[in-house]
Each structure stands twice: as structure tokens, then as C-alpha cells.
Symmetry: C2
């Protein structure tokens, strides 16, 4: 709980005071070159990935998985301890998550986990729907036959998981299919925009996992979607996708609404 942090710092100052002169001398009299190679060999910092990046990912997961409750304050010190880094990378990570909309910056008071209201998830899926509709239209024109075939195979595997009642695998493939369609549109900006929105929507995704009725319905919509792609009818595919997303949004919205009411 970071009690007496100031006192802790003070003790550190005393400790440093004692060793300060030595440290300064170390800087002045640089280590002779002869002894440099040896000690460096055993040292294995082994860090290729920047800490702030790891921090972003860890924190994002913590928020999406609900480890950090909505509205909870993000304490730099505590998070830094939890992630075993200093406050600096944590601060950078929090700023990034703020641009993603996962956390809310309180000027002068840090940040807290942003609320994910039923309204927000609804808006999110409306936008995702628009983007995926656009992606379908472009993909129908631009996708190679290889890509189309791959999509078909993914779809079939998803159908198998549906029949087997394997909800988790079904959802995973479902997500991959959506991503693959956007990728087939061959527009990097579209892909990146979509990815960032999908990420935010993931927070509400677990809510959708609960609806069995919607599951079967969604499967049927995906069937129609693949038919439209087979005919290379982008307009039709887009419309199906759009409605598919809007319906998903409505289901998630109602579930969140119900849990909000409670």
C-alpha cells in the first residue's frame, strides 16, 4: 500500500549519502578496458522487448479480463510493483491505454478504468459493423482465390466447433474470420482501425458468450456471408456482415444493460 514512501525515500538518501563518493569516483575513473569484456559476458539482461510495451499488454489484459474493476483507480506505484518495473513504463502504458479508451485520465489524479456502458458497446459494434461492411465490399473485389479458399476452410472448421458445442474454439475462429476478411480488403489503415476497435469490444465479448440462441443465429448468418463471398457479391456480403454485427451488438447491449441494472 506504499505506506511511508517518503520515509522510505529518506532512508535511501542516507544510504546513498554513504556510498555517494564512491559512486562518483567510479564514474571518474572509468573501468580500464582490459577488464571490461570478462564481466560483461556473464551478464544477461536478456531484454529485447521494451518494458513499456509489455506493461501495456499486461495492463490491457488485466482490464479486459476484469482483473481491474471498472472505475478502479490505477496506482502507479502498486502497478509498478505488480509488474515488477518502475513507475516510468507504467506511466507510459497508462497513457497509451487512455488513447485506446480503456482507461480514463483524471488530470492531476492519475487514471481509472473506463466504464464500458451498454451504450458504448452498442456504438462500438455499430462502428465495427460499418468497417466490416466496407471490408466485405473491398475484400470481395480484392481477395485472391487462395484467400477465399482459406476463409471457406476456416468457416467449415467453425461450423464443426458449433456442432460440437465447443463455444470457446468457435469464438476464436469467429474472430479470426472477421480479422481475415478485413485483411483481405488489402488496406493497412482499415486493418489497424478495425483491430483497435475489436480490442475494445473484447471487453464486452464475454457477455455475448452466454447467449446460446444468438450462437445458432450467428452461425446461419456466417453461412450466408460465405455464400455471398463465393459469388463475389461484396454489396450483399457487406449488408449481411453489417446486420450480423448490429445484432451481436444488440445482444451484448441487453446483457450489459441487465447486469448494469442489477
Amino acid at each position: 500500500m506504499q505506506k511511508y514512501q517518503k520515509l522510505f525515500n529518506l532512508l535511501n538518501i542516507w544510504a546513498q549519502e554513504l556510498t555517494h563518493k564512491m559512486t562518483t569516483e567510479n564514474i571518474l575513473k572509468r573501468r580500464p578496458p582490459t577488464e571490461r569484456p570478462a564481466p560483461n559476458v556473464e551478464k544477461r539482461p536478456a531484454r529485447q522487448r521494451p518494458l513499456h510495451e509489455a506493461a501495456v499488454d499486461r495492463l490491457r489484459d488485466m482490464i479486459i479480463e476484469g482483473d481491474l474493476a471498472v472505475g478502479e483507480r490505477l496506482h502507479e506505484f502498486n502497478l509498478a510493483e505488480a509488474l515488477n518495473v518502475s513507475r516510468t513504463p507504467v506511466r507510459e502504458a497508462v497513457k497509451l491505454l487512455a488513447t485506446e479508451g480503456l482507461v480514463e485520465l483524471l488530470p492531476g489524479r492519475g487514471a481509472r478504468v473506463a466504464a464500458l456502458s451498454a451504450k458504448t458497446i452498442s456504438e462500438l459494434l455499430e462502428v465495427i459493423g460499418g468497417i466490416e461492411r466496407h471490408a466485405c465490399e473491398l475484400a470481395a473485389e480484392r481477395m485472391t482465390s487462395r484467400e477465399l479458399a482459406r476463409l471457406q476452410r476456416m468457416h467449415e472448421r467453425m461450423a464443426l466447433h458449433h456442432q460440437a458445442g465447443n463455444l470457446h474454439e468457435y469464438f476464436k475462429l469467429n474472430n479470426e474470420i472477421h480479422v481475415a476478411i478485413v485483411a483481405a480488403a488489402k488496406n493497412a489503415i482499415l486493418e489497424a482501425t478495425h483491430a483497435s476497435l475489436i480490442l475494445k469490444a473484447r471487453r464486452g465479448r464475454h457477455a455475448a458468450l452466454a447467449s446460446q440462441a444468438r450462437w445458432t443465429e450467428a452461425m446461419a448468418e456466417h453461412d450466408l456471408l460465405m455464400k455471398a463471398f463465393a459469388e463475389r457479391d461484396g454489396r450483399k456480403a457487406g449488408e449481411i456482415m453489417f446486420q450480423h454485427d448490429l445484432r451481436t451488438g444488440e445482444v451484448v447491449r441487453q446483457m450489459l444493460k441487465a447486469s448494469e441494472g442489477h
Copy 2:
């Protein structure tokens, strides 16, 4: 050029060494409450806006306005000096600009201004087109008559600027109209997504400023757009907007292509 930074630091250490004990004592013997109010009165930190935020905006402008050339390395120390802050807020700002796509992070080597290729601007405007088409459809349904009237007035003012040959004011209003239409769609996520894309596209905007032929054409398209809105025909408005954006994209792309070739 940050020559001899290390030496500079070293001198600082010596200076601190001299005052260190005093500082420590100041911390121990906290200032008595009686003399606290007085010295604080004259102090005017006068900073309500976080430095890192100001840094983001300044840097973004510098990149968009071309003060920082494409591919140029971003040196924390230099930028910090230029903006009169320390490296910390600069680092935070650079990270944010990286998520916006304006700069490119080079792991272990800082960052550089990201290239804005003809392809990228083309993709950007394709996505913006898709989003604005969607916005038109939603706006036609959701916008109030007040909003529609306001849009009409903006359009008329823009037409005046067009006739007067006032390019700068024309573009400003043009931008405001696009933003207003997206706002009328009543979807905060859509609005935010659009805003962030527009921001990136601003980098290529000055290129479009040059084309007089496109200017007149674009004005005609806006006329059609307003007619469609008057009829509350979202589908039609959306299509017009989409084509409008694609054409703008094509013009900017060709201009950038030409300047790339040089």
C-alpha cells in the same frame, strides 16, 4: 547537440554534493506551518495543462506542418530543449504519436517521423470515405432539423468562400462540415475514430490545397450532398460522400506520387 552531457551531469553531481546535506536537513526539519503560507503566495506555477499533452500537440503540429522532415530522427534531448520540458513528457508524447502513426518507433533507437506515402494517404482516404459514408447514413436518420439547418448555413458560407476564391477559409469550413456530419451520426466512437483518421490525413492536406480543378468539382459534390440530406436520403448522401472522398484521395495521391518521384 548535447555534447558532453555526461560531463554536464557530473558537474551537477558535484554541485548537488555540496548542497546535499542542507537539502536532507530541509526534508527532515519540515518548514514550520507559520511561514508556509507566505512564500507560497508569490509562487505561480500556473500550470493547469499537463506538459505531456502540450508536448503531443506541439510535436504533432511540427510533424504535420513539416517542421520535422519525414524520416528525421526524434532526439529526446533536443526536443525536450526545444519544448522547454524534460525528456519524460517528450518520451510520453512520442509514444502517443506512435500509436497515431505519425512516428515510427525504432526499438532501442528512439523514433523517427513516419513516412507518408502516396499509398498510405490513399488508404487513409478510403477508410475515411467508408466512415463518412456510414456517418451520412446515420446522420440522415438521426440529425435534428436544427443540425440540418446549421449544416446548410455552413455549406452556404463555404460556397461564398469558394466564389471569393478564399481557399484557406473554404478548406476550414469544408473540414468543419465533414466533422459536423459525423457528429450528427450521434455515435461517439464513430466520431473519435473519424477524428483520429482526419488528423493523420491532415499531413497530406496541403497537397490537395494546390488543385484548383478539384476545388470546383468538390464544391459541386458538396451541393449534391446537401440536396441528399435535405431529402433525408442517407443512402444517397453516403454514396456521394464516399465518392467525394475517393476522388480527393486520388488527387492527393497523385500529387504525393509526383513529389515522391522528384
